[in-house]
Symmetry: C2
Subunit: 255 residues, 2 copies
């Protein structure tokens, strides 16, 4: 386990010291979480490495339907609010940018060939056709310690005929809860996902994922998450998730 | 919940009676399970509806690496065995075919537009580029009530740098345990997935998923699943899964 984590950390080590990465990871706007393990969004943290500006998938595109746009506007309008004096200031919510890969120049796992490494893409952002797969945007409310994600499920995510695959739902839950845990606790790994499926999600529909901090105990961060229809009337899934903070000194000692 | 399940069942109803579908679902070679809900592989069950033979993704292609091929051959060689008299007969294992969509002519969910419906693809088979995403083949051993799946994770499944996304792992677990539950109990829906992540999976590597029947209680089928490295030396995840048999009469009464 320690060795596996060590391999994952190589990507960071080639980019800078662990301490600076840990600092970056505590800044939500420059970090992401996937597979529960959370990593710095390097394209944000190190923009000078890139010749052109990467696409931010969290911004609206023509494939977004009316429900997706309505919920996006609902949260986005609360990212910046106007004071009584007419001045603009930060609101309670903040939109998190999203890209299609993590560490472009990381060495990756020990089994990762150079060819695979050069082509690797973030699972949730690997389809080029807008609207075909995962269309989603994540917002964080630091004061209330919660996250909200608006998710429109494309036609390439089919499981049961006309409905979203349970694995695609689990993918979004892992993404949202992992991001939330990162924001709260710094670098983490998913230790457990316990998902109760209550009702299937129609393909092409927009749903809302909301995550909440349950508690923190030492290295453990407990997050719960529910997926509902866009108007909140139907419960699709309920989840508890456990994340473990990555203990770098523990890793370095190889224990 | 009942109404949602009813929508999903429409796809079957337009193709034939429920009783014939249930019969087909008890024949593993013609059934699949996705999102835990299990459906007949219509392209197998009703070949006359299709003008050309669909691609069976469970057969080897040029992207399969040596470990993928080794494990494939290991199980495939046990699908047909030779008797002492030199005759060939069915072995303990059976390979399950796999396609990129379920019910081509199903009506799908109520929110499903005709455009989405015509383009819908099974989540795990939606990438055309061989080796880029989910390469897997499922085998079933009916006598020992277990399933084995050989899975090679492509470069489009990235989560942590150089490693597989937790959602992609959950997707494969849902697929394998759901298929297994179907074979054992007929049409089912996933009610719960409880996944413990032990160590990350390097991108590009081949792993083995094995599922086992824990118990059956009324409508409930309990399956456990472990994901290990291809040689079995490393444990990646441990999962318990609960599936509920779909009660058609219950659905029809709208209760």
């Amino acid at each position: 386990m320690a060795r596996s984590l060590g391999r994952i950390c190589k990507g960071f080590q080639c980019l800078g010291s662990l301490s600076s990465i840990q600092t970056q990871l505590r800044q939500p706007s420059t970090s992401v979480s996937v597979r529960g393990t959370t990593f710095v969004r390097t394209m944000v943290a190190l923009p000078s490495l890139f010749s052109s500006k990467p696409r931010d998938f969290s911004l609206p595109n023509s494939s977004w339907g009316s429900e997706m746009m309505r919920l996006y506007e609902h949260y986005n309008s609360q990212c910046e609010v106007e004071t009584e004096g007419g001045e603009k200031q930060e609101g309670p919510w903040r939109r998190l940018p999203s890209y299609n890969r993590l560490l472009k120049y990381a060495t990756g796992g020990v089994y990762l060939s150079k060819i695979i490494q050069s082509k690797a893409r973030l699972f949730t952002r690997n389809i080029r056709d807008p609207g075909a797969a995962f269309e989603y945007v994540l917002f964080v409310n630091s004061e209330e310690q919660k996250c909200a994600c608006v998710f429109q499920a494309g036609h390439l995510l089919e499981g049961p005929p006309g409905h979203v695959h349970g694995g695609a739902i689990a993918t979004m839950i892992d993404t949202v809860t992992g991001t939330h845990a990162t924001i709260l606790s710094g670098p983490v790994m998913t230790a457990n996902l316990n998902i109760n499926y209550r009702s299937p999600i129609p393909l092409g529909s927009t749903v809302l994922l909301e995550s909440f901090l349950d508690k923190k105990e030492g290295r453990k961060t407990f997050i719960s998450c529910k997926v509902t229809s866009s108007n909140g009337s139907k419960l699709h899934t309920e989840t508890t998730a456990l994340f473990l903070s990555i203990n770098f000194s523990h890793l370095l000692l190889g224990e």
